[in-house]
């Protein structure tokens, strides 16, 4: 997914939305094409099914349009958009059911680290497991336990730069760099059983 000059494009699209009238439709179209799939992916990573994710994407854009005048420019526009996306998801969880506890606070890793000697216990590998199967399994377990960190790795995989990831996870660019580095360390833990396959090949 190429991300080219998105921030400037976002600002242009947002200005059209604020302008109202037919310009608004044009702005919504541009912003939707740039963000909808990413919002939806975020919701899917947080454990929502496709239908709910689609509904919350709609809700998010409606709220962006409804509150477009409240954006004061005191934070990056992308961060403001992602905040609305996150709030809409939280509203959904409040209305329906609480989120799984392990997803509530991804930074709970530090507490877990302090309180537990063993961060991850490894299940025995299934018979005839390949290296790819092992990595798939490791990432799936990681995503289940640390959805936000898994999403960040997915954003890196898609080619997002630090500024965009910072906006998506509501952190400063510096804190985001540190967070990504931590994500690497954590996923390496989950992929540790795959080292045997790596050394064998």
């Amino acid at each position: 997914m190429p991300i080219t000059d998105t921030i400037t494009d976002d600002q242009r699209s947002f200005a059209l939305i604020r302008q109202g009238g037919k310009m608004r439709d044009q702005g919504v179209t541009l912003l939707y094409r740039n963000y909808a799939a990413h919002f939806r992916k975020f919701y899917l990573y947080q454990g929502l099914n496709a239908a709910d994710a689609d509904d919350i994407v709609q809700e998010t854009f409606v709220n962006i349009v409804r509150h477009c005048e409240s954006y004061q420019g005191d934070s990056p526009l992308a961060a403001w958009l992602w905040r609305i996306a996150r709030n809409c998801m939280n509203d959904h969880f409040r209305r329906t059911k609480p989120r799984p506890a392990e997803n509530l606070d991804d930074d709970g890793w530090s507490d877990l680290e302090r309180n537990s000697d063993t961060i991850r216990t490894f299940d025995p590998p299934p018979a005839n497991e390949t290296l790819e199967d092992c990595v798939d399994r490791g990432f799936a377990e990681f995503a289940k336990k640390f959805s936000e960190r898994a999403r960040v790795l997915s954003l890196v995989m898609e080619g997002f730069d630090t500024a965009h990831i910072a906006a998506a996870i509501q952190r400063s660019p510096g804190a985001t760099r540190e967070y990504i580095s931590q994500c690497r360390k954590r996923i390496e833990e989950f992929l540790q059983p795959c080292r045997e396959y790596l050394s064998a090949t």
Partner: protein, 193 residues
């Protein structure tokens, strides 16, 4: 893990070319990259019909008045003036058409309804009064006739629109069924050109 190694790993994860990177670091990152792609595919990340979603969004925005509407400030004063002028011309035109009609109108337009009173326009008000009074007598409905300044006011009591013959009378004479049981008809002459 040093910073360079971190960056190499991130580049490989993003599918960017890495130069002088430890092949083992690149290999691990590439394996993870493919695992994430398979994970995303399994989640249905790529099964997003953004065009359908966009159309749905636009429909909802129209329904909620968020789309295609200019802000109030967008309307120029000139637009408002033209709209008001058009409304006035339309009102005058319709009023003139109604009053300058030569023949009594045999449709609902010859009854102009107020809150309690209904205006009946007739080429010959006296004849119309006679006809209405005759029908009211036939239905056994009590009424009074008042005349003032050339106007004829026919006041009928006990007009029950639920009764079939009364409903028929009201319909034939284009009189709106009363909310209560009383009807006041202001019978006026049609203006001639």
């Amino acid at each position: 893990m040093n910073k360079d190694e971190d960056q190499d790993w991130l580049d490989a994860l993003a599918g960017k070319p890495t130069q002088n990177a430890d092949p083992e670091v690149t290999r691990r990152a590439t394996l993870l990259r493919h695992a994430i792609q398979r994970h995303d595919a399994a989640l249905g990340v790529n099964e997003f019909d953004d065009e359908a979603g966009l159309q749905k969004l636009k429909f909802r925005m129209r329904r909620e008045g968020l789309s295609g509407e200019s802000k109030p400030a967008f309307y120029s004063n000139r637009f408002v003036k033209y709209a008001m002028a058009a409304s006035i011309v339309l009102t005058i035109g319709l009023t003139m058409r109604l009053y300058l009609h030569e023949q009594p109108m045999q449709n609902e337009a010859d009854i102009m309804r107020g809150s309690n009173q209904q205006i009946v326009l007739a080429a010959d008000p006296e004849a119309r009064l006679k006809q209405l009074a005759f029908e009211l007598d036939r239905l056994g409905i009590k009424y009074q006739v008042e005349r003032k300044d050339g106007k004829i006011l026919l006041k009928a009591q006990g007009v029950d629109p639920v009764k079939e013959d009364v409903a028929d009378f009201l319909e034939r004479n284009h009189i709106k069924p009363p909310v209560g049981m009383d009807v006041e008809l202001d019978i006026r002459p049609l203006a001639k050109p």
